[in-house]
Amino acid sequence: MPEEYSWPSREASAVIGKVHDRLDGVVKSTGAAKYTYDVNLKNQLIAVAYGSPYAHCKIKSLDVSGAEKTPGVVHVEVLPQGKKDTEIEWEGELLAVVAAESEAAAREGVSKIKITVEELDVFADESNLTAAEVAGRTGKGGGKAETVNEPGDDDDEDEFVEKELQRLFDESKYVLEGEYGIDAITHCCLEPHGATVQWKDGKLEAYLSTQNVSGTDEGFARDLELTADDVHVQCEYIGGGFGSKFAPDYWGIAAARISKATGRPVKLMLQRDQELKLGGSRPSGYIKVRLGADENGVVQVWDSLQWGSSGFRGGGVSHSVIPYVLVPPNYRRVSTTIKSNTANARAWRAPNHPQACAMSQTALDDLAAKMGADSYDVFLANLVNATNGKAEVYRAEMEVGAKLIDWKAKWHPHGKGPSRGAIVDGLGMGLHTWGGTANTSSCLLKIYPDGGVESFCGTQDLGTGTRTVCAQVLAETLGLEVGQVKVNIGSSRYPNSGASGGSTTVGAVCESHRRAGQDAVAKVFDLAARELGVDASVLEAVGGQIRDSANHQKRISWRKACSLIGLKPLEVTSNYRRGDESPLTDSGVGGVQMAHVEVDKETGVIKIKKFVAVQDQGLVINPKTCKSQIYGAVIMGIAAALYEQRVTDPQSGKFVNAELSDYKLARLGDVGEIVVELYEPDSERIRGVIGNGEPPAISPKAAIANAVANALGVRVPTIPMTPKRVLDALAKA
């Protein structure tokens, strides 16, 4: 066993830190890759679910006899929530599943289901706090107050805070008040949630679109009264999850039950509208802010009331990340939750952070506008309030970003730039933070006597390049080419690896694969040392050889060294447990993003000209896949800033744009020029690997909103900034 796990230096690295094409790039781009949606089993039934057409009702009856009589329909299952007297609290809640010989027959069967209900009051206007209060839909969401001066023993704490904040506002050189908001959006996975399942000898095989290959077997087992060893979950490729695919979900369980009842494989993938309605959404958030700043624009006091909703259970954006990253010494934040008749939210790429960033760094930018100052300078001055210890990193990243977007040359005071016809332009920025700690992970590494190398790990590749990273880490560790390593992932039969949520995967697989690599190569060194007549401690694996690091002439080929293993392959399983101290990984990243936009003042249409993302994430294994993550996150952020919006009809509670034809997303022509810079000086690299799946998706909304405010001289308070909202804001100004 090696004394300590470690990464090679930048100079000594042959594979890590180097650009490598995705191992699965060709199979994905040619369509050869089989996603869950592509899995079709012999003799399978297609299942389509029936969702509640009402957003709030009590079921009086659900008549599925028409569905049962539909030609081609084999089985109809009424779900527990489809039973009489159940209260349904959001439109689309699945009530029954129809399994048929074809999708068309299943859909026709669904169309024949008849429901009678007692309609109940609907509330879906999450942005309207007053209306929510009138409707009795609000609840306490918590809060916190901090002041530098502390109350005396006899002081009432609330009264003291009130007076102290007022005193601080009175002393502030600048006081800014503003209202900001960000609507609920959905995950919009291109591959809907769903599974194809079959039973064999009392055991369940599930092809599931999941971010949690190692964990969902337990989910199936629990609900089907099996043990996890009786469930095999497979997910070779997944078409998007973004935090919404951690469980089999009740429709996956329903598919398994129907499969058991019919004795046939069952495929149930959500229909597109169901994917948008059920597949996951991000909570809405709205805020009233008052802040006070000193003569340098450094915020000294913050007072905010926020509200929003995570759906019918209330919730909303956590107040714990308000104000975001740059937290002044004195603040009070209060949160109100709203129960709306919308689907319950799921984790969305960096839960809470995008909303918090958009609700508080917009206020900071408005402060700059009020001061007549350069937003860059105000952000820079407020780095003293960075609570994550990354002020200097942010400062450096801001410098990099400013150069890439040419901030100094392009900057103009808010609303004071030149116009070209109706078109004005503006700059804006935002910054963010995230953890990205490594998840638990195990890797089984097999080294064959003929030199072959194969790894097994129950992780999953969300399209982020996990496979490729695993191969790169092993290739580096064993001194091989990436193509010499076969990586096996995507099966719950493989050693356990954590769910891909929280930007934890790259750290997880780097831990398990580097450890397995180092553990295994140490054993090979022992064998090679005897052959070479040297001490194993002097050996290194480089370029397909095992050699004496001081005398390169003393060497044998990898293949020859492996032949010393014997007749059976060398097998090593190495583990990492989340939270254990490790030199290989760390947590806590930051990033700075800047946007240059153009706005047509007559139509309210916004176009992104250029977007710069500077991101730190410790040691970068593959700059290409790492940058791809950031490009994707930025595009997702642009979509959320300008287009994405769950439109819920206030009267009926219907999610009316639950189709990709109506749910607007950014297309390639909308994203402008995106420049990504990986910030990886030695001081960052030495920290080890940290996940970056989520953090780059945080700042785009704030950066773009601030750029629009800079262009117009008017704040468009609520995101997405649709033409309607831009024109409304201009009309109010």
Binding site: P53, P71, E103, A104, R107, E108, S111, G421, A422, I423, E598, D600, E602, T603, G604, V605, I606, K607, L642, Y643, V647, T648, D649, P650, Q651, S652, K654, V656, N657, A658, E659, S661, D662, K664, L665, A666, R667, L668, G669, D670, T722, P723, K724, L727, D728
Partner: protein, 328 residues
């Protein structure tokens, strides 16, 4: 999707033979980019689908003896975009280009484009095309003109405003085997008053076979769509304009037709009147835009569309006059 019969006629006569007289019993498949989705959602449930894509006479673009251009209803939009005969009608090509989707352009047809069903999300969610949902509900994309009756949706056709501005006609066959009628595109659309009416005047056994564009004859034309993305989303408002100038740069004849603002393409004679007798400058174009929306009656959430329609008209006028429209 309901099971259906599929008919693939080879001649116009055969089309009429397989069309049913019963409303909704047959649907014409002219590309299918809209119809198939509607059928999958069970919003349209025909007993028979009649595919007109294999009828040769519906697939050609021809110059007629008088210089008019005849375009078959089954001609795909990409062919129109590439066809030199249509170069003199930039308003048509601009509208097609704005669709921003090669798939829709290559699969969608002219006949299908003008007959597509409204995008109204209440309709698409099974709540019906007419009704009260859009009065106070999520009506940000709904009509700002012609919306006094039960129809609050907007006509979705991107090309129809240009066709109307250019005085195009449609050729309609049926219901009888020998029946053939020509009518201006401006008379093809109607605002339904009850669920038994469609958004056009076709009877169940009638089919559009051709669109005929009269010779451009010295007119200039343009389409301007307010689109908030480069994707295949529908415009928020649009206008097509055709102008005829005299030798001194004065407008002699004008047609201004707005799209995406009313249950039918909206021909604004007020805007046209303001243009006739004047040269085009941005002020005059702005006034035409204002005139075009003077009678607007926005719903609870779509006041902004009044501004967008105004700007669309202004910019289409400027474009048709060969001037910089001054925006994206």
């Amino acid at each position: 999707m309901k099971a259906f019969e599929y008919a693939a006629p080879r001649t116009e006569a055969e089309i009429l033979q397989v069309m049913s007289a019963e409303p909704g019993a047959t649907e014409v498949l002219a590309g299918g980019t809209d119809l198939v989705g509607l059928m999958k959602k069970m919003l349209v449930t025909p007993d028979r689908v009649v595919n007109i894509m294999d009828v040769p006479t519906l697939k050609t673009i021809d110059e007629l003896p008088d210089g008019s251009i005849s375009i078959g209803a089954a001609v795909t939009l990409d062919l129109i975009l590439d066809h030199p005969y249509l170069d003199v009608y930039p308003a048509v090509k601009q509208a097609i280009r704005g669709i921003n989707s090669m798939q829709l352009q290559c699969q969608g047809t002219l006949g299908g484009e003008i007959c597509q069903r409204p995008r109204c999300w209440f309709y698409r969610n099974g709540l019906g095309l007419l009704g009260t949902q859009a009065d106070q509900g999520a009506n940000q994309y709904h009509a700002i003109l012609g919306n006094a009756g039960p129809a609050k949706f907007v006509n979705s056709s991107r090309i129809a405003p240009a066709l109307i501005a250019l005085d195009a006609q449609v050729r309609v066959i049926g219901p009888g085997e020998e029946d053939e009628a020509w009518l201006p595109v401006s008379e093809f659309f109607r605002t339904p008053r009850h669920d038994g009416q469609r958004e056009h005047v076709l009877q169940p056994q009638q089919v559009v076979t051709h669109v005929i564009l009269p010779p451009i004859a010295g007119r200039t034309c343009a389409t301007y769509e307010v689109r908030d993305s480069e994707g295949p989303d529908y415009p928020l408002a649009a206008a097509s304009v055709a102008l005829r100038f005299d030798g001194f740069g004065i407008i002699h004849e004008a047609k201004v037709v707005m799209g995406q603002v009313a249950p039918t393409p909206w021909n604004s004679q007020e805007a046209a009147r303001l243009l006739i007798g004047h040269a085009v400058d941005s002020q005059r174009a702005e006034q035409a835009g204002l005139a075009a929306v003077r009678m607007a009656s926005p719903l609870s959430e779509n006041q902004y569309k009044v501004q967008l329609a105004k700007v669309a008209v202004k910019r289409a006028v400027l474009l048709a006059a060969g001037q910089d429209p001054g925006g994206f």
